[in-house]
Structure formats: C-alpha cells, structure tokens
Symmetry: C2
C-alpha cells in the first residue's frame, strides 16, 4: 500500500499548511494514491514519475509494536533519485529534508533561494550516521533543526546520556533538536532549554509505520502554518502537534487514518495533551 | 550500606511530613544509620530491633542503568517479620504499605483505627503478583491507591496496553493508580482521567537504587503534608514531587543525597518540571 516518509510527512503537514513535495515514484504508482495526496491539497509538481517500480518496504512488528524486522527494502527507482526542485518551490521559506543520503539532502537545500529560507531541518537514520558521517555532519551544519530518535542521537553524539547527547548535537549546527522516544514521547532542545512531551496513550496501537514521519510533518507543518519558528512557545506547540499527528497515524493501517482525519480532531487531541500534562 | 524500601520512603517523605516507620533490623544495624533517620525527624518507635542480621540485598546494574541483576538477597531477620504498630501510630491518617507479602500489608492496615484513616496505598512486586495473587487482590481491594511499575501493571492486569491495564486495576479497588516507567516518568490514573509526568533528565544517573521508593515517599509525603489527597490537582503535584525525590535519589550512591538535600532544592526542581512541561 501507499507509504514512504514523504507521503506521511506531507499528509500530516497538510492539516496546517500547503506542502510541496519532491519525490520519485515508478510507473506502477496508483492514480488513487495521487488522488489521496491531491485531495489533501499537497502540491505534486515535484513528484517525479519515471519508468520502473516504486520504492518498496515491508516488515513485521513485534507483539508490543516497539520493534520491527524488515523483510524487504527494494530501492527500485529510488536508487537513482536526484531530487530536482521545480522553480515554484525554490522560494519556499520552510524546508524539511526527509531521511535520505545526506549529500542529496544538501543538494536540495542548495537549490533553494537562500534569502527566502526561514527554517531548514530534517531527519536522518543510523545508516547515514555510521557510514556517511562526514557527509552528514557537513549537511546538518546548515540546518536549524534536527529530528532523530534517541538511539540515533546516542549514535550521532557518542553520548549515552540524552542531556549530553543533545548538547553535543547542538554544537554540530542545529540549534533546535527534537529527540523522539517512540511511545515515550519526545524532547525538544532549543538553546539552553528543553521541553518534554509524553507519548499519547492509545487504546490500540494498530500500526506504528510512519508515526515518526507524521511527527515531523505535524511539527514542521504547524511552524510553517503559524510562522512561529523563532518563538520558543510555538516550537513547543509544534512538538505537541507532531505528537498528535504521530498518534493518529498509529490508529489505522498505513495512511488510512488520513482519509477521515479532521483538523477539529487534531485540535481536540492537542487539548487532551494540555489536560493530561498540566499541574 | 543503609538501604531498603522503608528507608528510602521515609527519607523522601521526611521533607514534607513527619513519617512514622514500622520495620525490623538486626543487632548489626549501625547507630549512624539510626542517627541519619532520626536527624530527618523520622519517628523510629516502630523500628523493631531483634537478634540476628539485617536484611541484605546486593546487585549489579547494566551500563545504561535500566536493568540490574541481583547477586544476593538475604532475608535474615526480615524472614520472620510480623509488623506491629505502636499505639501512637494507630490513628495516623495516611498509611503507605511498602513492598512485602500482601497478607502482612493487610495486617498493618487492620491494626489502624479505620475511622482515622484518610488515605491508604502501597507498592507490590512481580513475585507477589504471580505467586500470591489472591492475597494481593484481597489486600489492594481496600486501598485508595496503588503504585507499581509498567511491567507489574501489565502482569497484574493481564493487559499489555497501559490504558486497558489501568482500567482493569482500578476495578480491583484502588481508584488512584500510579504506573511508574523508570526513566520515562510516571502516569497517574484518578477516576476517568490520567496525568503524564516525564522522567527528569539527569546529567548522570549515579545509582538508581531506591528511586521508586523515593517516588512513593515524595508522593505520599506531599499528600500527607498538604492534606490534599482528594484534590486531583494535589495528586498531580504529588506525582511531580515523587518524581523530584526519585531524581535526587539517583544523583549519589545509596542514601547519600539525603545527607545534604534541602527543601529549597526540591522546590527548585519542582519548578524545573513546570518549566520543561508547559506549553
């Protein structure tokens, strides 16, 4: 079924802003999947379609949904992907770089009109941290924020303690860092302060695939929609909106939840977060 | 060195109220350890001293401090312990039952003057849940609150999902439930609502021994000191004070941190919790 970081990020962000995506699919990509993305107001001008098969991933989750085993990763048309921005994208103020080879992330930022950019950030993963470290460090040196999980933060920094890991990563460039902890929530580091958001307690975690990407989409989407990227309070709200979007993602298989999800439900869950964290 | 649930609970609670303890030690119990407890204003009338050796535990922690392996558990004088309350304790309004065989917990509550009791709760562990289930269920049926960790909550309820586990446990008697999640904080369930407190991020977790007991001591101590045990907001603050006390406990080996800790430091950390959780 439809999946992929870009898909989840764009769907989540679409509740807050009008995302423009850059991605590649094969000639097997279904019209119904285009239609879903288009129905959410996502700009598809940068969605390249080339001969061949679309990237494919499959895996099996553990009973408690906290681990998963990959059964297939077929790069297909993604193997030769060289992101190329449409002219209409180049003056966008907000740039979110999905998990891909760091040099490609950098090539996307380099295509942007620097004077228009207000906020740049992105994601990475253990493979780039261990095997493309120099490229990754060059790339994130130019980012305002980095979104990674706790294991990745420890690997990138070489520090087991999250406070120390965060300080080390902030020195690599990103002044703002979000460390995601799966079901245990997320920590935002901004300058000398941090903010801790718990993970939403679902009655059933149906499918956690894409939850981290939905977090990123909600986080960046909220900042882009509100224009509050330099406001520490807005960054905190962005973390909560990211958590909200990640939690909805887990309620159905794949992207299914986004077929019915409304902004009203999103704001309702944001208020739930206020209710169960205030004292 | 000095340790044990009662020690940690009483030390933590002593910053909020004047605890009265019921426990047993052998004739090897050091005067310096009596003196430390007495210096914190803890009532030692119920501390029984009998011939023999004091209970002894030792263990080895994993590198990340999240697991530990027990190397010795010598019950010693604890094996024959039958808690007996001094007359002066029996009209106390707040009763916290440490982790011990459920029938003994019940025998302590049965010695109290029921009409004076405002709030009763306590702790248990996997061994009592699996091997003394009926006794445990009879015991906690009479409690207002239960403090356990997430693995114990899952074992007691038979539910992997924490929302479902909490609902099942509340039906067993305790209307208030605190599920501790180690470094990931704690969740308070009270009636139909819940409250999520993150775990404090320490620069160094020096020794987590006793942190859960210090949580219990801070939680109950704050409620006893403030008299706010029926106020949902006070219960939330009690969870934060519990978290604060658990975090201080980890900063030094054993009970060492309590030799210097002040109420001012405690309230300072409480305010830190407000700062890093508000949005």
């Amino acid at each position: 079924m439809l999946g992929g970081a870009c898909t989840y990020i764009a769907l989540a962000a679409s509740y807050f802003t009008k995302p423009q995506i850059v991605a590649v699919v094969g000639d097997d990509f279904a019209q119904a999947d285009y239609d879903l993305l288009a129905s959410r107001g996502i700009d598809l001008d940068g969605l390249e379609r080339v001969p061949g098969k679309t990237f494919f991933w499959s895996g099996i989750y553990s009973a408690d949904m906290n681990d998963r085993e990959t059964t297939a990763t077929d790069l297909n048309v993604f193997a030769d992907f060289k992101p190329k921005l449409p002219e209409s994208y180049k003056t966008a103020p907000y740039l979110l770089l999905g998990n891909i080879q760091p040099a490609l992330q950098k090539s996307v930022k380099d295509q942007m009109t620097a004077s228009s950019l207000k906020l740049t950030g992105g994601d990475t993963m253990n493979y780039w941290i261990s095997s493309f470290r120099d490229e990754l460090l060059t790339t994130i040196a130019g980012w305002d924020f980095l979104l990674i999980n706790d294991a990745e933060a420890r690997m990138l920094s070489g520090e087991n303690n999250l406070r120390k890991a965060a300080r080390a990563i902030q020195k690599m460039g990103p002044k703002t860092l979000v460390i995601k902890r799966g079901e245990h929530g997320a920590i935002l580091w901004h300058g000398d302060t941090h903010f801790m958001a718990p993970g939403y307690l679902l009655d059933d975690v149906f499918d956690p695939t894409g939850a981290g990407d939905c977090f990123a989409g909600g986080f960046m989407g909220y900042l882009a929609g509100s224009g509050g990227h330099e406001d520490p309070k807005a960054l905190r709200r962005a973390v909560i909106y990211g958590s909200v979007m990640g939690s909805f993602c887990c309620e159905r298989f794949g992207v299914e939840r986004f077929r019915t999800l409304t902004r009203k439900e999103i704001d309702g869950r944001f208020q739930e977060f206020q209710a169960f964290t205030s004292f």
